[in-house]
């Protein structure tokens, strides 16, 4: 199959980057770099930059490099060369224009997907280096506009999408009402103290994808679970501040999320199908707050669906007929090893499951994650062009349905499907579970 060629603009205009650059002074750059280098980073960064022998063996790991005709500037070591290596070489004396470009590279050409860490013989982690670069750019005030807006939203509203408290509650009630037509006694229990679990979602769900809350509520009600959602801030588990390098806001957000669960005295948190939110709760936000592991037990939707199916709380009426393939989201596969559970769930739900290759830990990232899709329309063509290998990989399966248990992957894969004119539809696991599960008769 011949994939169409996606054209990328030579120079991308972004107000966050361009205006940020204009306001940036030399002094500020040097202070920021000094703060990050001598104050915030430590042994890992040192060991990585002092160990890398420039062998280029990490190149094949990166979908951007593979997709752009093996242009070495998109290889992991190539991106480090264009950013961190210059900062180190010049001892922090870099120009505002350099910071602008470094921000674009680190925020839109790398997904921090950590595939390259699996390919470097030393186990050097270029994703970590890119996140340090983003941190520097954030402190310099040079971050792509769209993602910066979501980080502002996190700071002001504790959710990603400027959802106001009454809008949030309204949305839940609206979904409850709708779902009651299908299941008259269905409840979305708000603020129920001592429930077995708190269900948390990402900001875009109430904003654009409220149907997913409907589906989740329906599944939980059919399974007869004791659950709740908070009516107050802390309901959003997502975290774009983590990806802009705004660690302070990341930490504050995670505190709200964990404290919501503690206030409701739930036994654990169940998260929806999102990869980056999982990373923030399980790996990064918790650690910023000095918790080695999340202070409240938590599971990702894949693990939860696995429980629902293995315990028989949800039964399948008739397996899904269409052929499906699975995109392994890096943040829950390379980030939490949920690949086998995902396969169990999909095989339970679907008749015809086809692997894409490579898969499991070796999956190619969707190129939406790591905040890249959140950098918005200016970078869309580049994002789609930089993941031609993913399009090829999906097309080769010949499947009709592409399952992505991650929100960013989902939107990113939709752009790839459209951009490369693939004959596929993108779905969440919950879409399929909702469709094929045994449903109670309406009385």
């Amino acid at each position: 199959m011949v994939l169409p060629v996606i054209k990328v603009e030579d120079k991308i205009i972004d107000d966050g980057l361009d205006k940020g650059m204009e306001k940036l002074t030399q002094d500020r750059i040097e202070n920021v770099i000094d703060q990050v280098m001598s104050g915030e980073t430590g042994a890992r960064l040192k060991a990585y930059v002092e160990t890398c022998v420039h062998c280029g063996l990490c190149s094949d790991a990166c979908h951007a490099y593979l997709s752009r005709d093996r242009d070495p500037k998109f290889s992991p070591a190539g991106k480090v060369k264009r950013t961190m290596s210059v900062i180190l070489k010049k001892g922090g004396k870099v120009t505002p224009a350099f910071i602008r470009d470094a921000s674009e590279i680190a925020s839109t050409e790398c997904n921090a997907c950590k595939r390259c860490a699996m390919y470097c013989p030393f186990g050097i982690d270029p994703a970590y280096i890119m996140l340090v670069v983003r941190r520097i750019c954030h402190l310099c005030g040079v971050t792509p506009l769209y993602i910066q807006d979501t980080a502002h939203s996190h700071a002001v509203t504790q959710n990603q999408m400027w959802v106001k408290e009454d809008e949030w509650i309204d949305t839940l009630q609206w979904q409850e009402e709708d779902a009651r037509e299908e299941m008259p006694n269905l409840r979305i229990p708000l603020d129920k103290e001592g429930a077995d679990f708190m269900y948390s979602v990402i900001g875009p769900e109430p904003k654009f994808l409220a149907g997913l809350i409907y589906q989740a509520a329906y599944i939980f009600n059919v399974a007869g679970l004791n659950w709740t959602m908070p009516s107050f801030p802390g309901w959003d588990n997502s975290d774009m501040a983590m990806y802009t390098g705004d660690n302070e806001i990341m930490g504050r957000n995670k505190r709200f999320h964990f404290e919501a669960a503690q206030r409701l005295k739930v036994k654990r948190i169940v998260m929806g199908e999102c990869g980056h939110a999982f990373r923030s709760v399980y790996d990064m936000g918790n650690r910023w707050l000095s918790w080695a592991m999340p202070p409240v037990p938590m599971v990702h939707a894949i693990e939860f669906y696995y429980e629902l199916l293995t315990t028989g709380k949800i039964k399948v009426k008739e397996k899904y007929k269409k052929s499906v393939t699975l995109h392994d989201p890096c943040n829950v596969v390379r980030g939490r090893g949920l690949h086998e559970k995902a396969r169990y769930v999909i095989n339970e739900l679907c008749e015809d499951f086809r692997e894409m290759h490579p898969n499991r830990e070796h999956n190619y990232c969707c190129n939406a994650g790591g905040g890249v899709i959140n950098c918005g329309p200016p970078f869309k063509n580049k994002r789609v062009a930089n993941n031609r290998v993913k399009a090829k990989q999906c097309a080769d399966t010949g499947a009709e349905i592409l399952i992505t248990p991650c929100h960013n992957c989902h939107s990113g894969m939709e752009d790839i499907v459209l951009g490369y004119k693939l004959d596929m539809h993108v779905k969440f696991i919950s879409d399929i579970m909702y469709e094929v599960m045994e449903k109670p008769e309406i009385g």
């Binding site: 915030e40 980073t41 430590g42 042994a43 890992r44 040192k46 060991a47 990585y48 002092e50 160990t51 890398c52 022998v53 420039h54 062998c55 280029g56 063996l57 190149s59 094949d60 790991a61 490099y65 093996r70 070495p72 500037k73 290889s75 070591a77 190539g78 060369k81 860490a117 699996m118 390919y119 470097c120 013989p121 030393f122 186990g123 050097i124 982690d125 790996d283 650690r287 000095s290 080695a292 596969v333 390379r334 980030g335 939490r336 090893g337 830990e361 070796h362």
Partner: protein, 222 residues
């Protein structure tokens, strides 16, 4: 001739001591500094570290073709393993070297047969040529190459080239021997102070990522 002799005596006497002391103290300092940085700023690393997963990761990468990326790059894999094995065994097990250890401290151990030593030397030199060609030809390697990479490669190759000439005694044995000993000393001094320090750090970077993948990510890293 006298000048030559006193140069030889200097290079093979005090300078060797200097080189070894710098190498050992420098290496200890580098590792100490790494750990003091961890203790100062990244203590959480200890909560991630796991002996089991460190070992799992190291084993998968220290065996040729045991990781996916080694399998993807067979030429590089064979080259780098031959090169590094040669680099470790030659200084330690070459007859001529062990004799010197014996002269200095009265200790000796098993040595490589001479014929094999020559072969290993030639193999290592060939590997260095492969590294050089990769750097000049492969686009992704060329792009990330800096001048220092050629210098490091030259530093690593020099003892083998000079040692080989000295051993063959084609011409001017003394000259090559002096060059050889100097180049060996340069390697030792360079290890703690250049990116050759990957020899000191490799085990820690692997152990860390192995632990991060095994312990936190529940995923393989090979």
């Amino acid at each position: 001739m006298d000048d030559f002799n006193s140069l030889y005596n200097f290079v093979s006497g005090p300078l060797v001591w200097v080189a070894f002391i710098v190498f050992i103290c420098g290496s200890i300092y580098r590792i100490y500094r790494l750990f003091s940085l961890v203790n100062k700023k990244e203590k959480f690393i200890y909560t991630i570290m796991s002996f089991k997963y460190s070992l799992r990761s190291i084993i998968h990468w220290i065996i040729p073709f045991a990781s996916l990326n080694w399998r993807k790059h067979p030429v590089m894999t064979v080259t780098t393993f031959l090169f590094h094995i040669g680099l470790v065994i030659m200084p330690l097990f070459l007859g001529a070297h062990v004799i010197l250890f014996n002269d200095a401290w009265g200790i000796s151990w098993w040595t490589l047969p001479d014929g094999l030593a020559d072969t290993v030397t030639l193999i290592v030199i060939t590997c260095c040529v492969v590294f050089l060609l990769r750097r000049l030809v492969l686009r992704e390697v060329k792009y990330v190459t800096t001048p220092s990479d050629f210098v490091l490669l030259a530093i690593a190759a020099a003892p083998f080239i000079t040692g080989f000439f000295a051993d063959q005694q084609y011409c001017n044995y003394r000259f090559w021997l002096i060059l050889h000993i100097l180049s060996g000393e340069i390697v030792l001094v360079a290890i703690p102070f250049t990116r050759l320090s990957h020899m000191l750090y490799a085990v820690f970077t692997r152990a860390y990522i192995g632990s991060e993948f095994g312990n936190i990510r529940h995923a393989r890293d090979w």
